[in-house]
């Protein structure tokens, strides 16, 4: 099945254009196509066909010559992203080329990008949690940033809608701060995780430990197979068991006959028509031919990823928008957020030496937020809160054992000691001064201005991190773990890969870029529904909210189009 529509070479007018094919772009394409709109998806990189373009999906370590080791040339190509520690030869082809696509870190910031069809939906962590009114009301209650123009009741039906199609496994808990999804059966905790869960919940009333809620199928759904517990997700899943644009939304869009995907299409800017008061199209540079082409459409969805969508808007200047598309408020590029991460604790668990597990579960445990969820859990040290991910496994580092020789070799062929860890993800407040701006001094391979990123965590995030570490050590010690070590890697933003904000939603055009349906206040046929729209960052993983907010915006777009309002 080819995603190409050969008409793309000649056809330049569509009903809708979607910029980007990652998690939110895939949803936009599916919803718009299913509602009958001829839709063009502009993808910066190459086509990645589900299954056939997953070259490493079945490789064992010994199948690749260097068993995952990167050559100096590969390291150079990914010299920024390599700091994540996640790039090996198994996924190298799904990470953007940092040399061709530079960015400037005014302060340290890790920007991980996937420049190909499906984007980071192939690489993401699949943790999927609903946000709650604790999140949507927080800014208004505390007078931070601006108020979200939406509440949980606006989102709840759309969460359900996307969950039914994406397939989310998990366990219902009935917690107000972490609303339950429409769930497939949960994955299983292992014996050590069950043990630690019992000890933590027994010692700390109000704290819960559950299996992660994830976009992995635990039962077949719509022709997709269930998880086979190989944990090779980031190479692409041959069963289509986890949610990616490639396996799930783009095939659905394709099935309507309304989809055209144009690869190698670097979006340069939106084209604005002042007489109509709206955008009329999108200007691209063909990455292979350097050709300049304008595509026209009635509505435009920006789903290039948080910073890339904002980069496009900043680069779309006109007499009406001299400081970037829709930037009447001056907030475009500002209020960049990411979750803090890599702070927590780990320790050893004794007493389960005769127990093991089978299967490589692509999931761990989750401890939902328990600070500042009501009056009794109020902290005087920080606003908002954090959740933990983690898990138990048999690990250890055999190289550390002070021994060598035959008996040593026999020893390390057996499972190592049980270890258990938790690492927190804390909410980051929106700060106006945490921002991105266009940099005309540094151009990309196609001569386009790049982004300068100037963001840092501040005192509230640091206070949250201190609490994460302190609570983590306390919980693991109370759970009876040995050799408990607390840690805080004190990393800069970006490492959480939950970058949010820079084109925030809001009620007032004077202080926000987008309205309650993700429309640019001053050009209502342009929708921005990726992470850039976020008004605050919650402490839970954002991707499910991107899916729901995109489906909701697409529904509104088509309804407004039919009413001739846009």
């Amino acid at each position: 099945m080819a995603y190409y529509n050969i008409d793309a070479q000649t056809q330049t007018t569509y009903d809708a254009i979607v910029i980007g094919s990652g998690i939110s772009g895939g949803w936009a394409a599916k919803e718009l196509c299913e509602k009958g709109l001829k839709t063009l998806v502009l993808e910066r990189g190459r086509i990645v066909q589900h299954v056939t373009d997953y070259p490493t999906m079945n490789l064992d370590p010994w199948d690749s010559e260097l068993r995952g080791g990167l050559t100096p040339e590969q390291k150079k190509k990914h010299y920024k992203a390599i700091r994540s520690g996640w790039i090996g030869t198994d996924t190298e082809h799904f990470w953007a080329d940092d040399e061709a696509n530079p960015y400037t870190e005014v302060k340290p910031f890790l920007w991980l990008r996937g420049h190909h069809m499906g984007g980071r939906s192939l690489l993401w962590g699949k943790q999927t949690y609903r946000w709650s009114d604790l999140d949507f009301e927080a800014n208004a209650k505390e007078g931070i940033g601006v108020d979200w123009p939406i509440r949980y009741k606006d989102m709840a039906p759309w969460y359900t809608y996307v969950e039914k199609f994406a397939g989310i496994s998990g366990e219902a808990l009935g917690l107000p701060q972490l609303p339950d999804s429409h769930f497939l059966p949960p994955m299983e905790l292992n014996c050590v995780e069950k043990h630690v869960k019992g000890r933590i919940e027994g010692s700390f009333p109000g704290r819960h430990m559950i299996i992660g809620r994830v976009a992995h199928l635990t039962k077949p759904l719509n022709g997709r197979g269930q998880c086979q517990y190989r944990n090779r997700c980031s190479r692409g899943c041959p069963y289509g068991a986890y949610f990616s644009s490639n396996a799930v939304t783009l095939p659905a869009a394709q099935a309507t006959g309304n989809l055209t995907i144009r690869p190698y299409s670097i979006v340069q800017s939106l084209v604005y028509d002042d007489t109509k008061g709206k955008a009329t199209g999108v200007r691209i540079i063909d990455a292979e031919t350097n050709e300049d082409i304008v595509f026209s459409a009635k509505i435009i969805f920006c789903n290039a990823s948080t910073l890339s969508s904002t980069q496009i808007l900043l680069n779309s200047t006109s007499d009406r928008f001299p400081n970037g598309f829709g930037n009447d408020s001056g907030e475009l590029g500002h209020n960049l957020m990411d979750h803090t991460y890599r702070v927590g604790a780990l320790g050893k668990v004794e007493g389960f030496e005769d127990k093991y597990y089978k299967g490589r579960r692509p999931n761990g445990i989750y401890i939902p937020r328990y600070w500042n969820v009501d009056e009794t859990t109020r902290s005087d040290k920080f606003l908002r809160g954090f959740g933990y991910q983690g898990g138990g496994y048999r690990g250890g580092n055999p190289a550390n054992i002070e021994s060598f020789g035959g008996e040593f070799k026999d020893q390390i062929l057996k499972p190592g000691p049980w270890e258990f860890f938790i690492t927190g993800f804390a909410e980051c407040l929106p700060y106006h001064e945490n921002q991105v701006s266009l940099n005309s001094e540094v151009l990309d391979k196609w001569g386009q201005p790049t982004l300068s990123i100037d963001a840092e965590f501040k005192e509230n995030e640091k206070a949250l991190n201190r609490q994460i570490r302190e609570d983590a050590v306390e919980m693991l010690e109370k759970a009876g773990l040995k050799d408990v070590i607390g840690f805080d890697k004190d990393h800069p933003p970006g490492y959480g890969v939950h970058e949010m904000g820079t084109a925030r939603m809001g009620r007032d055009p004077k202080t926000s870029v987008l309205n309650g349906f993700n429309q640019v206040h001053a050009a209502k046929n342009v929708f921005v529904t990726d992470g850039s729209c976020m008004t605050s960052s919650s402490c839970v993983n954002p991707s499910l909210t991107y899916m729901a907010i995109t489906a909701r915006a697409a529904n509104h777009a088509v309804s407004e189009l039919k009413k001739r309002n846009i």
Binding site: N58, D60, P72, E188, L346, D354, Y356, A399, K414, G416
Partner: protein
């Protein structure tokens, strides 16, 4: 602890009274031959012999294949040749030279020319003096990792190369490329050796 001082400590400890581990008798029963029947990509032939001897002593053949049986030495040479940056390659060369220099100083010969019991003393001392790896989760090293020294680094690389060889990964460790389901609690004896993947 830097790599250099780690190896110097090796010399200090070698003079102390150290109880020989029980497997010494096993090792003595078969004389170790330093063979080099392959052409190194990165190492000199002498360096390659040092590495071959080291990985053979760390992971010798028993009832299961040893490091040399699964070509751990040849793979390490290839990995250094093709994935190390130039300065890391130079550091590796210097580490081997330092290691041999310390053997020469403390035992009168470079590593490969020492007799079996002297080689064991060198490794036992290195086990004590070479630093440890900090624990890690999700590829993140916890805390500030001090340099671990040549011996520990080489041991770690050897173990990785051993576990990720086809012979060990498929034939010795428990290999299940498509588990199909997750069982969070079963007796270790139902699995046997640790999981390969």
């Amino acid at each position: 602890m830097d790599r250099r001082s780690a190896i110097r400590n090796t010399g200090l400890l070698a003079g102390a009274s150290v109880t020989l581990p029980t497997f010494l008798s096993l090792l003595q029963s078969c004389k170790r031959e330093t063979r080099l029947d392959w052409e190194p990509e990165f190492f000199t032939r002498d360096e390659a012999k040092t590495i071959s001897t080291l990985v053979d002593m760390i992971l010798p053949r028993t009832e299961t294949p040893g490091a040399l049986d699964v070509k751990v030495d040849i793979f390490i040479d290839k990995v250094i040749a093709r994935t190390y940056e130039e300065q890391d390659q130079e550091a590796m060369r210097k580490a081997i030279a330092d290691f041999n220099e310390d053997c020469l100083k403390n035992h009168g010969s470079v590593f490969n020319d020492l007799n079996e019991s002297e080689k064991i003393k060198v490794l036992e001392a290195a086990e004590k003096s070479s630093g440890k790896f900090n624990p890690g989760i999700w590829g993140i090293t916890i805390g500030n990792q001090e340099p671990v020294g040549f011996y520990r680094s080489m041991k770690a690389v050897a173990i990785w190369a051993y576990f990720t060889s086809r012979e060990i990964g498929e034939g010795v460790l428990s290999y299940d490329p498509i588990p199909g389901n997750y069982n969070g609690c079963l007796p270790v004896k139902d699995v046997g050796n640790k999981w390969s993947l």
